[in-house]
């Protein structure tokens, strides 16, 4: 198992997000590789394989169809492929960060970066809450299916506000209660923005952090060079060697 420093993970997430969203497919694949390899070390090979297959199919489909005028229905399909090919790499990076970073490690990392607790606490809660939002939403969706309330059922098509009432409000109630419990637990443990926390987990940079940093900076540099010169990375490399 390879353990990265929370600051390295944050850097990886920021670089991956900024590169993947606006860069060509090759950079997206390069950034996809890092969390995929790290997840393989976490023995999540089934997840990585499923993710990779779907990503590859969507990315190749999108690259092939994006320059064509495919009509209205085709645009919907291409948009879906675009969403999958651009959002899945971000998804896998965020999945890796959320799966492997504990709240106390993240807070300790942010504290070492001298970020004030008033910013760190909401960010920590937010990062830990994304999976909770999806889990709760999934559970509520299952419960509503048992009552025959689905997203595209006759009842919801007749009155779309029922979706708000049957899906969003239970989600809000549930999340608010979890939030209240969380703030009580935080207060009980003495979490106060004015004081500095201690952390039993050792936080520091190691060889693996340096490797990830160098890799990310290399990808970022290539991306900026190619976006400035309007050439692909393969053309630039072949020009260098010719």
């Amino acid at each position: 198992m390879i353990t990265l420093d929370p600051r390295t993970k944050l850097f990886l997430a920021i670089v991956a997000n900024s590169v993947i969203i606006s860069a060509p497919l090759v950079y997206s694949a390069l950034m996809f590789a890092v969390p995929a390899i790290l997840l393989l070390f976490e023995k999540k090979w089934k997840f990585v394989l499923a993710f990779f297959s779907l990503y590859l199919a969507a990315a190749l489909g999108f690259e092939h169809l994006k320059t064509m005028d495919v009509g209205r229905v085709g645009t919907l399909a291409v948009s879906t492929m675009m969403l999958i090919s651009h959002m899945m790499p971000i998804g896998i990076v965020l999945y890796y960060v959320m799966q492997t970073t504990k709240a106390n490690e993240f807070m300790a990392g942010m504290s070492k970066m001298h970020i004030p607790n008033k910013v760190t606490i909401p960010l920590t809660v937010m990062i830990r809450f994304f999976p909770t939002v999806f889990d709760e939403s999934h559970a509520i969706s299952n419960a509503m299916k048992m009552r025959g309330i689905r997203l595209f059922s006759l009842q919801t098509l007749k009155n779309p506000f029922t979706i708000l009432e049957y899906r969003l409000i239970p989600l809000l109630v549930s999340l608010t209660k979890i939030g209240d419990e969380l703030s009580v637990a935080a207060s009980t443990r003495g979490l106060v923005p004015e004081t500095k926390r201690t952390c039993v987990v050792p936080i520091g940079f190691h060889v693996q952090d340096a490797v990830v940093f160098v890799y990310c900076i290399a990808v970022l540099t290539c991306f900026f060079i190619t976006s400035k010169s309007k050439q692909s990375i393969i053309d630039i490399v072949s020009n260098l060697f010719s």
């Binding site: 997430a13 920021i14 997000n17 900024s18 969203i21 606006s22 860069a23 060509p24 169809l65 994006k66 320059t67 064509m68 005028d69 495919v70 009509g71 209205r72 085709g74 645009t75 919907l76 291409v78 948009s79 675009m82 969403l83 651009h86 971000i90 008033k118 910013v119 606490i121 909401p122 960010l123 920590t124 809660v125 937010m126 809450f129 994304f130 939002v133 999806f134 506000f161 708000l164 009432e165 969003l168 409000i169 809000l172 109630v173 999340l175 608010t176 209660k177 979890i178 939030g179 209240d180 969380l182 703030s183 935080a186 207060s187 979490l191 106060v192 923005p193 004015e194």
Partner: protein, 203 residues
């Protein structure tokens, strides 16, 4: 209870509760905003997508407003987190600056008008300007935005965006639809708050 004397200083426990609420509702706002804005990937609905964002996010936003004790810092943090997320996802620094400014105005609305319906309603309308501003670079730096979109979307979608950027009326329509969504969403949220959250003591 009115005879109880206090120092006037709010407890740090309520500050922690406020910060936790900011985190929870920021996560929810980003998720709901992202889901409801995906309608904008259909070219015909680009302009209308801001309406769906404001409409869907109005209820959680009203609940968020009712649960915070320090409106200005909490709203600035909330909007700052959203702006920061957009900055990381490739939007310019302008979006981050707009988010902070909107957060300040939203917080001021809650502080000076109060946390009643009028305050929450006006704050929600101001907040809708933040999500509507996501399309602003299409008019402020058209070529860069189209170049950015070209790497992500198909030719038909980019052509539609280019057509929209020729005139400033779509920009007005984007903001108008955002405000319309917040106006309708605010009324729905008021009903929902009375019907559900106030009854169970969550608001």
């Amino acid at each position: 209870m009115s005879n109880v004397k206090t120092t006037g200083k709010k407890s740090s426990n309520t500050l922690v509760r406020d910060l936790v609420n900011v985190g929870i509702f920021a996560a929810l706002y980003i998720v709901l905003g992202f889901i409801s804005s995906s309608i904008g990937y259909i070219p015909a609905f680009i302009v209308v997508s801001t309406c769906s964002i404001s409409l869907v996010t109005s209820i959680p936003v009203f609940l968020f407003f009712s649960k915070i004790d320090r409106p200005i810092p909490c709203c600035m943090l909330f909007c700052g987190i959203f702006g920061g997320a957009m900055l990381v996802m490739g939007q310019g620094i302008l979006m981050f600056a707009i988010s902070l400014a909107v957060g300040l105005v939203v917080g001021s609305c809650l502080k000076f008008i109060g946390k009643g319906f009028a305050g929450c309603y006006s704050a929600n309308i101001v907040l809708s300007l933040m999500s509507s501003s996501m399309m602003l670079p299409l008019w402020t730096s058209t070529e860069e935005y189209l170049e950015y979109t070209r790497t992500m979307c198909d030719a038909g979608y980019v052509a539609k965006l280019k057509e929209l950027s020729q005139s400033s009326w779509p920009l007005v329509a984007i903001y108008a639809f955002g405000i319309l969504g917040a106006v309708v969403g605010g009324l729905v949220a008021r009903r929902v708050m009375k019907k559900h959250f106030e009854r169970i003591g969550l608001a």
